[in-house]
């Protein structure tokens, strides 16, 4: 059976599930939904495995299936491309997706009920998401990728706003969608540029064109290619929550925890990274843009991590951690280590999904409590959750030999050594690593160690989650341990297995590699330096953990360092939202005058609503213009006609005299005219 020609089924199966549940969900039994939801994803997983296995058999390592022409004028087909890159992505998506679906069957159980059809709705959306995500990663051209891109955005909108009766939820949903739209604007323009430059939007053709001699690397100049790359990256910043568009992700935690795990940690948010990796041939030609990407990535990483240090909402900590890890990936992209970016994406999928699911399990146990300050001492009460999260925390902190260590270390090393790299980038990465270790273990200690700080009622109800939830945790934990072993640094010795990941992806990035050849080789001569850096990063991780342990385990509440002036800054997320407020709201409020009051509602929270507020102010003005100028003129015309009507009629006095006078005036006018002309 040839799976390669069936790859179009991989996204379609979940779509079927989604359709089934959204249309007939109300008639389906809970069991049926439990079956369909994860079932369809599992099926896609199997198909993907089969397909990837067969792909390994091909020597050109890429296979396309074109269903039909979709947008003829721009040459966008409804076609799928399976190559190493997309194969990694589909495996991650289907595998993690499958586990999270299984987990959700348990987690969302209480959503089921006659009046509140949340359960089928949830799985419907989730399956729909999987469909779009798979379309995104399997697409063989940018427009189709964009279909998935928008689709996942839609699903994220639907799922963030899942509890739509909560204002905060629907606000967050809107925020997410609109911020993403801003990114998309850049993406669309980027596509058009790419299209005009290369004459196609099909990945293979685009890469060929870029590889051809027509395009020289724009070293030191910011030309069209660089602009194109930048525009695409703008799209990525929207999806992958980078500066300046990251504000939506923390709010997105309004959604159910499995959603956070699947969409806002493992898969969707990494779409930006994937897209940049897809465009590697382009980015390789545009060092300027690459620098910008790396810088933004590093900045985001540090910023988010520092915010993560002090958050008390368990899910928010993880959210900021996600943002910062994404920053990592973009650093990798920026320095041209695309495979490293994908590698980190892949490992991150495991442990971050695990962390979220674990957090979900904790929240489940704490009957909805999310504030870590009211937790503690859960270690024995929910052992499975504890152990799995323990592993995950080690992994994300970068403790060898867990998955996180290898991917993160590779990125750091590339930041240091790649021709596009820079010591500063490395430093940023290193600092982030330390902070990551600290806030993750702060989370662990606050949650699981010490004595419980929750009230009696909750304490009594604490219980381990059902197996439907714990099993996925365990599997993911295992993943977090071993996932990294296929991407070891060459200094660990080279073998088909140890660098399997890099080799597997090579064909995809060879164009890029050719564009900036020599980078890797040059770096690897200096093994000792690599060892040293490795040591430093391990040190950072361990140090972070130990500090966290000291502060949150040894010291009592009051003894803990306040963090001085920095604490409020961090706690208030560097005042970014407030900054947006100040920029868009306060500034305009001065101009906007009294209108301010009306829009308080719209101003409550920063960034996007701020912009929204600004736009509404503008539109307010334009409405005024509409009614008073445009319409005004017309009505003025009508008014003048009416107004003129009366004087004209006023001549009609009803007196024969005035009529005769008018007659004579007419005669005079006639002769006057002649007299005047002659």
């Amino acid at each position: 059976m040839n799976f390669l020609d069936l790859i179009w089924l991989i996204p379609l199966i979940p779509l079927g599930g989604a359709a089934a549940m959204l249309f007939f969900g109300r008639r389906l039994s809970m069991a049926a939904i439990r079956g369909i939801g994860p079932g369809t994803v599992g099926l896609s997983l199997l198909l993907s495995l089969g397909a990837v296995a067969q792909l390994a058999g091909l020597e050109n390592k890429s296979h396309e299936v074109v269903l039909y022409k979709w947008l003829p004028l721009i040459g966008a087909d409804w076609g799928f491309l399976l190559d190493p890159l997309s194969s990694v992505m589909i495996l991650v998506v289907t595998f993690v997706g499958f586990l999270i679906h299984v987990y959700a069957t348990g987690y969302m159980a209480h959503e089921h009920g006659p009046h509140h059809g949340g359960y089928y709705r949830f799985f419907g959306y989730m399956n729909l998401f999987v469909f779009f995500m798979l379309t995104l990663v399997l697409a063989n051209n940018y427009p189709l990728l964009f279909v998935g891109w928008e689709g996942v955005g839609l699903c994220s909108y639907l799922l963030i706003g899942f509890y739509f009766h909560k204002k905060s939820a629907s606000d967050a949903a809107n925020k997410a969608f609109i911020v993403n739209r801003i990114g998309d604007a850049g993406f669309i323009l980027g596509m058009f540029f790419l299209w005009t430059l290369t004459g196609s939007l099909r990945f293979t053709e685009v890469n060929e064109a870029l590889a051809s001699a027509r395009f020289a690397p724009e070293a030191g100049v910011f030309g069209l290619l660089s602009l194109t790359g930048l525009l695409l990256f703008v799209g990525a910043t929207g999806k992958s929550a980078q500066i300046p568009l990251f504000v939506w992700l923390p709010d997105a935690m309004e959604g159910p925890t499995p959603v956070s795990a699947l969409i806002h940690a493992a898969t969707m948010v990494t779409a930006g990274v994937y897209m940049c990796a897809r465009s590697n041939a382009l980015l390789a030609l545009t060092p300027e843009t690459s620098h910008i990407i790396a810088a933004v990535g590093a900045a985001t990483a540090i910023l988010a991590a520092s915010i993560g240090l002090v958050q008390n909402d368990i899910k928010r900590v993880l959210a900021y951690s996600t943002v910062s890890q994404l920053g990592y990936m973009f650093v990798a992209v920026g320095v041209g280590a695309y495979w490293a970016a994908i590698f980190h994406l892949y490992t991150h999928a495991f442990f971050k999904a695990l962390l979220f699911l674990g957090a979900g399990s904790v929240i489940h146990a704490m009957s909805g409590e999310q504030d870590m300050r009211r937790m503690g001492g859960l270690k024995d009460k929910i052992p499975v959750t504890f152990r799995t999260m323990f592993v995950a925390s080690l992994a994300i902190a970068g403790i060898p030999p867990l998955a996180g260590f290898f991917s993160k270390d590779e990125i750091l090393w590339q930041a240091w050594s790649s021709p596009l790299g820079a010591k500063a980038l490395w430093a940023a990465g290193w600092a982030t690593a330390a902070m990551t270790a600290f806030y993750m273990w702060r989370l662990m200690f606050l949650t699981f160690y010490g004595e419980g700080r929750m009230d009696e009622h909750t304490r009594r109800h604490i219980h381990e989650s059902p197996r439907s939830m714990t099993v996925p945790l365990t599997v993911l934990a295992a993943g977090s341990v071993v996932a990294g072993w296929i991407g070891m640094p060459k200094v660990f010795g080279e073998s088909g297995f140890q660098q399997a990941f890099e080799h597997w992806l090579e064909p995809v990035f060879e164009v890029a590699a050719r564009a900036m050849h020599g980078g890797h080789e040059a770096a690897h001569h200096d093994a000792s330096m690599e060892w040293a850096l490795m040591g430093l990063s391990i040190g950072a991780a361990v140090g972070g953990i130990l500090i966290a342990r000291h502060v949150y385990l040894r010291l009592k509440e009051h003894e803990r360092p306040s963090g001085g002036a920095l604490y409020p800054v961090l706690y208030n997320k560097w005042y970014v939202d407030e900054a947006y407020n100040a920029l868009f709201v306060e500034g305009l409020a001065k101009g906007g005058g009294g209108a301010m009051a009306r829009f308080d509602a719209a101003v409550v929270d920063g960034g996007v609503n701020g912009t929204a507020w600004m736009t509404r102010l503008v539109s307010k003005i334009s409405i005024w213009y509409d009614t008073w100028i445009v319409d005004g003129l017309v009505n003025l015309g009508a008014f003048t006609v009416r107004a003129l009507s009366f004087p004209v009629r006023f001549f009609q006095t009803g007196y024969i005299h005035s009529y005769a006078l008018m007659f004579l005036a007419g005669v005079l006018a006639i002769f006057g005219y002649y007299w005047w002309v002659r």
């Binding site: 009508a638 006609v641 009416r642 003129l644 009507s645 009366f646 004209v648 009629r649 001549f651 009609q652 009803g654 024969i656 005035s658 009529y659 005769a660 008018m662 007659f663 005036a665 007419g666 005669v667 006018a669 006639i670 002769f671 005219y673 002649y674 002309v677 002659r678």
Partner: protein, 489 residues
Amino acid sequence: MSQYYTATDHFVLLPAILLALFGCATLLFDFLIFPEAKQRRWLLVFLVLGEAFAGAAFWRQQAFLLEHGGNLTAFRGALVIDHYALFFHWLFVAATLITGLVSYRYLEVRDEHHGEYYGLLMLAQTGMYFLASGTELVTLFVGLETMAITFYILVGFLRADRRSNEAALKYLILGSLSTGFLAYGFSVLYGISGSTRLSEISAAVAARDAWDPVLVLAVGTAGAGLLFKISAAPFHMWAPDAYEGAPTMITGFLATASKAASFALLLRLFVGPLGPARESWEPLLAAAAVLSMTVGNLAAVTQTNTKRLLAYSSVSHAGYILLGLIAGSPTGIKGVLVYLLVYTFMTLGAFLVLTSLARQGIAGDDIHDLRGLMKRAPGHALWMLVFLVSLAGIPPTAGFVGKFFIFWALIETGHYTLAVIGAVYVVVAIYYYFRMVKAVFVEPEEAEAGPLTVSLGTRVGLAVTGALTLAVGVYPEPVLRLAQMSISR
């Protein structure tokens, strides 16, 4: 004797004779045998017969012309029968018939139903006959006066109604004033040409410079008189008052037949003898046309009396028709004829609907009287819609065809500005016509509104005018042919 009254003369004059005879017969029989108002309906028979015979006579003339081509002059060039004249004759026949047929119910309601009415209608038509066919100043003058005086009487026919008296008086005095000026102009024309025949006058005029002072005197005074008759601004002041006071159907007759006849004369003069002087009078007429459209449309916008409203609108229509004459090209003249034709039918129709609104002691000429007409009489309402839409000049109704020609002629002759002005005023016109539409269809019914006073005549008249208004709009070909034929000499 025969040399004074040849067979040709007879053939040409016959319709007028018939009309006059039947008119007198009506008067006579009215005195003799119809003491009761109800019975006087029978006098309609005379009207119909008269028109039938006259029509037959016209038909024979038309047939003759079609056969032999050219045209028939009689009485040493005092009268002429050409397609141009016949076009108007047919118009008059139709207008008079319709007016007569639909009037009786109205007159009975206003209890002023007298036989003289029908007689006068026909005598008025006789006057019009000479206006359309006359080619000699005296004939034209006397014809014009015959028509005018008849109209003074008809306007004042509701003797018990003060508004009617007043209208008649105003119309008479102002009319006479204009007649004075017209006559003065004619006298000057006679002075410079030494003859009253248009052919010789045109020779004399052609011999003179367009800006010759004496010629200017003639054109100025006579022009003023004529513009008065077609109620073009600034000589329109009589129109709204006369229209409002007159019996509604007479208003219709006045607005259509009288206007058409006066235009017949206007064209005969300005295209014929005064043609050579075009450069001097064209700007004047243009000014008058623009002024008419302005005054008519603007004044109508806020008018609440439907008859006055239509009066003002007729002023603006006069402006449009003048535009055709200003363009002067064959298209333009054709446009004038077509416009007059469609204008006649749609205006008559509109007044016809208003007529049926009259109730005991109520003229029914306020815009409120139209309210809820759709409920009271859907048939009337729909026809009214047709007429108003046509008056507004929206396709596919006859009104559009007329405006189309005018605009076409203007653009053809490069009068772009005039065309744009005309176009803009079309929009203004929509505004007030649709105030009536609004009243008819949208606004709620008046509480005390009784049933309409509808008669067989009204139904027939409505059917005819409405059908024609629509038909000409949808398939104007025959009318265009007719118009084409009329201007081909």
